[in-house]
């Protein structure tokens, strides 16, 4: 019996370890150079790269709940770059490359595992789209190929080649596809950032954004008013609500997305397999559980509740793809709120308010962009508003100029 546990049990204060990965929180200061609203993967990654590459450490991350407790913990942890547009592929490829070295960089295991991602085509139109995506990917140094039914059978022998009476005609085989533990990514960045002097304030909710002469000067929190030189919002699932406090509208509509996981079984599936026609993606975790998710709900809602309809359609699609899954038991089900833009690309860069930067519109593609988004947003903030080339196409102005970056066809499960 560890007596130290008993000691903690009788103590009314939460015990903080001496050499914990995260330092004991301190009181909010009156002012910071940079305030990052949102302590998910993106927020802590921005803080980490600000501290590491730019030496900017007078930074506070304000998180209304807990570190990585929002959509960072709710996504299905897929890392891939097989998008459609050159802008998208260039951006996500950088992210895929950065993920490979994160465990070393953090000295903390993010359980990165490169397994390859396979998207199934059931129509001629999908094959044509895949051919284009494979070429764009190869052009930018990615490893993506269009493969036929025979190769798919050899790659994934357990797959039903005629799911839902939609014969598999081919597949987009993306060898760079990988997975990692999403919580660990947030923890690793938070550890690296706080060790360099960044402050992480959990249970600190931003109630209002203070804007004077169209310039952000501070935020009002549940722990008082904090002044800042500049602020960045990284609050996936609540982007429009926070932007409204700063005084502007976003080209975003928020939909729930539901996912679920079965009991663990023996390893049978290396690859991550998705079908855009069946609206389903399936992968096996390193623990053996099968995670599967689908498209967003059919109508917008700020609620992570589960619905019987989605559960039924997701389960039937997953069973069509891997029929033996019918014998498995469902372990957990959850939902998250996804901020969908109409072109299925994120919004990064400047906002209508000076010194207030956007990291929003991450719909169902936020986790895979965590490292590169953190790095480029840190470059943007450190330069005082000079937008890096890589994220210029994702400016919010693209909607006013009708220059969208259309990635609708490149989601793993169409929405």
């Amino acid at each position: 019996m560890p007596f130290s546990l008993l000691k903690y049990g009788l103590n009314k204060d939460y015990p903080f370890e001496q050499n914990a990965d995260l330092p004991v929180p301190t009181k909010l200061k009156a002012s910071y150079d940079v305030i990052i609203i949102g302590g998910g993967g993106h927020g802590v990654a921005i803080a980490y790269y600000l501290a590491k590459y730019h030496g900017i450490t007078n930074v506070a991350i304000l998180e209304k709940g807990y570190l990585g407790g929002g959509n960072t913990a709710r996504n299905t942890a897929v890392i891939r770059s097989n998008y459609m547009t050159p802008e998208g592929v260039k951006f996500y490829s950088e992210s895929v490359n950065m993920f490979k070295n994160l465990s070393n960089e953090f000295d903390f295991n993010i359980m990165y595992s490169q397994r390859g991602q396979l998207t199934l085509a059931h129509t001629d139109a999908a094959i044509r789209g895949f051919r284009q995506r494979a070429e764009v990917s190869k052009h930018f140094g990615g490893r993506t190929e269009l493969i036929g039914p025979q190769e798919i059978k050899e790659l994934v022998p357990t797959l039903n080649m005629n799911p839902g009476h939609l014969p598999v005609l081919g597949g987009l085989w993306h060898m760079d596809g990988a997975t990692a533990r999403h919580d660990a990514v947030a923890w690793g960045y938070a550890k690296g950032a706080t060790q360099r002097g960044v402050e992480l304030h959990q249970l600190t909710e931003v109630l209002d954004v203070i804007v004077e002469n169209n310039k952000v000067t501070g935020v009002k929190t549940n722990k008082g008013i904090v002044k800042c030189g500049c602020a960045v919002q990284a609050v996936a699932g609540h982007s429009s609500l926070l932007a409204a406090k700063a005084g502007f509208k976003l080209p975003i509509v928020s939909y729930p997305l539901q996912a679920m996981v079965t009991q663990p079984v023996k390893p049978f599936l290396d690859q991550m397999v998705s079908s855009s026609a069946l609206h389903c993606y399936v992968q096996q975790t390193s623990r053996g559980e099968i995670v599967f998710g689908g498209g967003s709900d059919p109508y917008p809602l700020y609620n992570s509740r589960s619905t019987l309809e989605l559960k039924e359609s997701l389960l039937s699609s997953a069973i069509e793809m891997f029929p033996f899954m019918a014998n498995l038991r469902l372990l957990r089900q959850w939902g998250g709120v996804t901020d969908m833009t109409s072109d299925y690309s994120p919004i990064m860069g400047l906002s209508p308010v000076d010194n207030y930067y956007m990291d929003a519109g991450w719909g169902t593609w936020g986790f895979k962009a965590t490292p590169i988004c953190g790095k480029t947003m840190a470059d943007l903030i450190a330069s005082g508003g000079k937008v890096p080339e890589l994220i210029k196409p994702f400016a919010m102005d693209r909607f006013k100029e009708f220059r969208q970056v259309n990635e609708m066809g490149a989601t793993a499960a169409s929405h």
């Binding site: 429009s240 609500l241 509509v253 109508y299 809602l301 700020y302 019987l308 006013k400």
Partner: protein
Amino acid sequence: MKIMICPLNGARNISEFVYGGEVITMPDPNNCSNDEWADYVFFSDNGIGIVCEWWLHAATSFWFIAERHTATDEIIRTYKASDIFKDRVEFALKHSEAKS
């Protein structure tokens, strides 16, 4: 099963309906600026509260309006679009304008 009341067909399963976006005022397509049009097409309040939305009963192609809470998902009421939209919107340029 979640139920929605269609003004034409009565109570039906929500899976029979298709969401059609928030009811917002359309600027005059022939005279508005690009910014106004972009704002109308892409930008949204996307807030929490009761909103007025277009819904379609897919089986009968019947469009109507529903008032729904965007956090609780409670459908407050549904009614025919003709209750608030009385006039026809002309998208095509009028003959005299097209010529000039």
